[in-house]
């Protein structure tokens, strides 16, 4: 479903702040794969997701989504195939617009926007039912401004928005990092449900190793802009935190620098 071939990205090239964020990275995701991504700060996790989403062009390499070459498509055109939830709950929604208006915007992702009504009566009923499934009581506040919602509510809403138009790929960029542990657990559970119900292909970055092990059916670890560990299938299912630490030490042993911060 997703095919990333030898992509590279260097920030601030030619200056003292030069940072090679993606180093000839390749990744292939099959349809229905739910892949968690872990790695220390600066490992290139978010850069990978942003490259796939098209926030900026990559220096080298190509990106295919469902066989389609999207390497040179701008962000807003790629959005047709991609659902996204961001780390900052403020990023995924328009605070000054109503809950139903936000959903209506997401409903039209990848479609031509015309002079028809921005939101119809029939849609409202769909949104009502969808919001109900979140179990947050948002269905009774559909005309409330999103700015009034809590971070957890906003992330839940953004998840719903990302899945309204079935995306070929769902990108979750540490979407629970800004939430308190209880809320984070709920949002993760919701993510699991949405991915399973819609049979989505998903890339999820997390800082939490246990979450990375518990969720999804594949796990990759990144370091210095490369994938240094790729675990899936049976192996992933029986993976424990200590095993993961061991494996990391193993791989990191042949790395030039170890990232001990990651393991603390």
């Amino acid at each position: 479903m997703l095919d990333v071939q030898n992509i590279a990205k260097t920030f601030n090239a030619g200056t003292v702040n030069e940072k090679c964020a993606l180093d000839n990275l390749s990744l292939h995701l099959n349809a229905g794969e739910f892949c968690t991504v872990i790695g220390g700060n600066g490992a290139g996790k978010s850069t990978l997701l942003n490259a796939v989403a098209g926030v900026w062009p990559v220096d080298r390499g190509s990106i295919f989504i469902d066989g389609l070459d999207v390497t040179h498509l701008p962000e807003y055109k790629r959005a047709k195939y991609i659902g996204r939830v961001f780390q900052d709950p403020m990023t995924g929604t328009a605070a000054s617009m109503q809950i139903e208006e936000n959903l209506a915007l997401a409903m039209r992702r990848g479609k031509k926007r015309t002079l028809r009504r921005g939101i119809t009566k029939a849609e409202r009923e769909v949104y009502y039912e969808k919001l109900k499934t979140l179990g947050l009581g948002l269905e009774s506040r559909m005309t409330a401004k999103v700015g009034l919602l809590s971070g957890g509510q906003r992330q839940a809403l953004t998840l719903l928005m990302a899945s309204l138009q079935q995306p070929k790929l769902l990108l979750l960029d540490e979407h629970t990092a800004a939430l308190d542990p209880a809320t984070a657990a709920k949002v993760l559970e919701l993510s699991d449900r949405i991915v399973q119900e819609n049979q989505l292909t998903c890339l999820m970055i997390t800082h939490n190793m246990s979450d990375a092990i518990r969720h999804g059916n594949r796990l990759i670890m990144m370091n210095n802009g490369r994938i240094i560990l790729d675990i899936s299938g049976e192996e992933k299912r029986h993976l424990t935190k200590s095993e993961l630490l061991e494996k990391f030490a193993e791989v990191a042993g042949v790395q030039e620098e170890t990232d001990s911060v990651l393991l603390s």
Binding site: E75, A94, S96, A104, R108, R113, G118
Partner: protein
């Protein structure tokens, strides 16, 4: 008593001026509040609208057609600012300044079209010779010739059309672009195109107001747009401060710009009666707008400080 009487006598004039500047302020609202861009093009495009409108009328074009042309030329100005900003990557505020500056020369050329010199700083149009849409001559008369009636109808039409437009799919995506660009792009919205469209609609309305203003006062002048952005902002902000508690609906928010402009002209009349000279008005307007813009910020600081102080007292 005398003071009050002259003030009351000036009331129709204030309402007439306020209604015209209200349409202009609605244009400013679209960029400043909906798109979150401070667009300085309006200082130039207001005059462009007025100049073109008068030029067409004195050359025998129907005043209504001339107003539509003013709207279109305003959209063109907005398009240029929009392209400078999105296609050329120039900061929005600077793009507006560039277009505004360029329009100064263009406006002189428009008003001087057909003259020997080729440029001209004023272009009069007489209500005696041409069937103008609005004229301040009849502002105290009762009947259909009174410009206030016509301006009220125009304001209702403008607000109605904008209310419809910003409720469409395109309009919603423009609002989303102003509210959160990252979100808008993630939902497949071309934010650059939307900014250009927003700037075009905004400057179209400003130029339309310019066309009305020129007809109302009987001439287009090169400095009629000077400081227009500040007057527009004053109207937007006064409208928000006075009506934000009661007006929530988008149409009412636009209406509050009109009310803001009318209040602004009442205040201006009032201070003029107090003996202030017209030449001091720009200073006064700037001070008023600066205060209104600063208040929310200062309030935030004041409240956060006091809450901190309270917290430490309780600790």
């Amino acid at each position: 008593m005398d003071f009050l009487l002259t003030f009351l006598r000036a009331t129709p004039g204030s309402i007439g001026q306020g209604l015209i500047w209200g349409i202009m302020a609605i244009g400013v609202y679209i960029t400043y509040r909906v798109l979150d861009i401070a667009d300085l093009t309006v200082d130039g495009s207001l005059c462009t609208g007025g100049a073109l409108c008068v030029l067409l009328i004195v050359n025998g074009v129907n005043p209504w057609v001339a107003l539509i042309c003013a709207f279109l030329v305003g959209m063109l100005a907005g398009l240029i600012t929009g392209l400078l900003h999105t296609a050329c990557g120039i900061p929005a505020i600077l793009s507006g300044i560039l277009t505004q500056l360029a329009l100064y020369s263009v406006n002189l050329r428009i008003m001087g079209w057909g003259t020997d010199a080729g440029t001209q700083a004023t272009l009069p149009v007489s209500v005696d010779k041409f069937p103008l849409v609005v004229s301040s001559r009849f502002v105290r008369e009762l009947g259909v010739k009174n410009p206030i009636l016509m301006l009220l109808i125009l304001t209702v039409i403008v607000i109605g059309v904008l209310y419809w437009f910003f409720g469409t799919e395109v309009g919603c995506s423009i609002r989303a672009t102003g509210a959160n660009q990252n979100m808008a792009r993630a939902q497949g919205i071309n934010t650059n195109v939307n900014k250009v469209v927003g700037l075009m609609v905004s400057n179209g309305l400003v130029a339309l107001a310019g066309g009305l203003l020129a007809q109302y006062q009987g001439s287009a002048t090169i400095d009629m747009g000077r400081g227009a952005i500040v007057i527009g902002l004053a109207a937007v902000i006064i409208g928000e401060v006075v009506f934000s508690k009661v007006f929530r609906n988008f149409a009412l928010l636009l209406l509050s710009c009109t009310f803001g402009a009318i209040i602004y002209y009442f205040v201006i009349q009032f201070v003029l009666r107090l003996g202030l000279s017209t030449t001091d008005l720009k200073l006064l307007t700037a001070v008023v707008v600066a205060i209104f813009l600063a208040v929310p910020y200062l309030k935030g600081r004041y409240f956060s400080k006091s809450s901190k102080a309270r917290a430490s007292r309780h600790a």
